[in-house]
Amino acid sequence: MRNPCSQRIVDIAPSGIRKFFDVVSEMKDAVSLGVGEPDFDTPWHIRDEGIYSLDRGRTFYTSNAGLKELKVEISNYLNRHYGLEYDPIHEIVVTVGGSEAIDIALRAMLDPGDEVIIPQPSYVSYVPCTILANGTPVIVELKEENEFRLTKQELLDAITPKTKILIMPFPNNPTGAIMEKEDLEEIAKICVEKDIFVLSDEIYSALTYKGKHVSIASMPGMKERTVLINGFSKSHAMTGWRLGYACAPREILEQMLKIHQFAIMCAPTTSQYAGVEAMKNGDSDIEHMRQEYNGRRRFLMHRFHQMGLDCFEPYGAFYVFPSIKKFGMTSEEFATRLLESQKVAVVPGTAFGACGEGFLRISYAYSLEDLKIALDRMEKFIKEIS
């Protein structure tokens, strides 16, 4: 028999988080600090709206780009929070989570050989999605001394004549890094000068702890060269609803919409109706959850400091990214030994790029009680090894 599989796909390595957590799920009394999704339930008024839409028999497809009402509300939301102006009819597509938006944006924009600059450590999908879209990933290794922000020089060094897209993953998973207005201004200027497009993945934009998030799309000259990606998973604790969106100039969006309509049809209808409620009446939920996360973030930083774990202070998402370099182990060794000795699961930084070596991703999407148990065990482990 011939090889049934595409060699291009076979060559893509599976995600590094997986194998680790298969072990964890088998282990009794293990506590995990590895989950990358909110611990909150979706606020009840949003769930209720989803149930109501089912009650009313709204079980049809929606138009490909999404319910008009939802797109209008998304447009209002982006305007209210980030001062962005998007035409709901021509510049917004509702997707199956932010992850679909990443995929269709890359596929709609890349030709073979086009280079995509990907800052790392970052979300694990950018590289494989770039490869699947025939692009060539160019990795920029972000540095702890810059608080894992992308600097002007790092960007300039990565640009070649083939560079087409820069991915901007901020607030960042796994480091928790943010980019503030002044940081973005420098990056935006280069993008305009060098005629580079930006795919800005702002899925964690609602979760920042040092002033309000700024979107690179709001910088002068950037809206026309930015695909903005966002969604409901992190802001409204709606991961399982699979609901996200992309905003882009009409020219790009039309091509994205083609892939979306042939491959996906439309985002889930029930989720879209719930999404309307989330956009309209969910702002206070976001603030409530943000404050809760912020308290946990401070608590974690405090405890790390006490137990002698070095960590730069992150101001976004729900992750901290402590350094374990001083213990003379690799991230994977540290994570494995921590799991074996104290049954605490964390994700080695290397799962998010080679430059994640020497770091761990720790999620605080857990209740304070759970965090305390896990931190006590971590403290014991650190005493053991130092």
Binding site: G36, V124, H302, Y366
Partner: protein, 160 residues
């Protein structure tokens, strides 16, 4: 700061104040001072415990009583309300808009005890014109707390 502090201790009044300070990003002393000030200002009126009495062997009956009264000249409803809320059996007492005037939440050991209070004490107050008593059969949620076991973490392992 006050608002956040209140919402934390409203949910858990026994929380370690050192911890509260860390969560709020301030000094422990600031938290202690704020709390003391709010106690003095009457913003914080007590630190109670949520108990699900249904799970104990103690018998408790709760009733919600709608009371209609004739308001008094110059004093409105306040004087009648005061006569009612002085009874230790009364756990809450509110002035209401709508079909009746005062709502009384009453705690007793037995149905008979509650009934006795209504007939002997409440209805005999001069300005009370009528009462309607509703017994509480089951508490699903009280003071923002659902009377159920804590939910398990059901999040699945997924990639990425």
């Amino acid at each position: 700061m006050r608002e956040q502090l209140l919402s934390i201790i409203e949910k858990n009044s026994r929380i370690d104040l050192k911890e509260v300070a860390i969560i709020l990003g301030c000094e422990e002393e600031t938290v202690i001072n704020e709390l003391q000030e709010m106690e003095e200002e009457g913003i914080i009126c007590g630190y109670h415990t949520m108990i699900n009495w249904d799970k104990t062997n103690v018998d408790k009956v709760m009733a919600l009583i709608e009371v209609r009264v004739t308001p008094q000249r110059g004093r409105g409803f306040d004087q009648v309300a005061e006569r009612i809320y002085q009874y230790p059996e009364v756990s809450s007492c509110y002035l209401m808009s709508g079909a009746y005037d005062i709502m009384v939440i009453l705690e007793g050991k037995t149905l008979k005890e509650v009934a006795g209070f209504v007939t002997d004490k409440l209805s005999t107050i001069d300005d009370v014109t009528s009462t309607a008593t509703h017994f509480i059969l089951k508490k699903y949620k009280d003071h923002g707390t659902v009377m159920k076991k804590r939910k398990k973490d059901e999040r699945e392992v997924f990639t990425p």
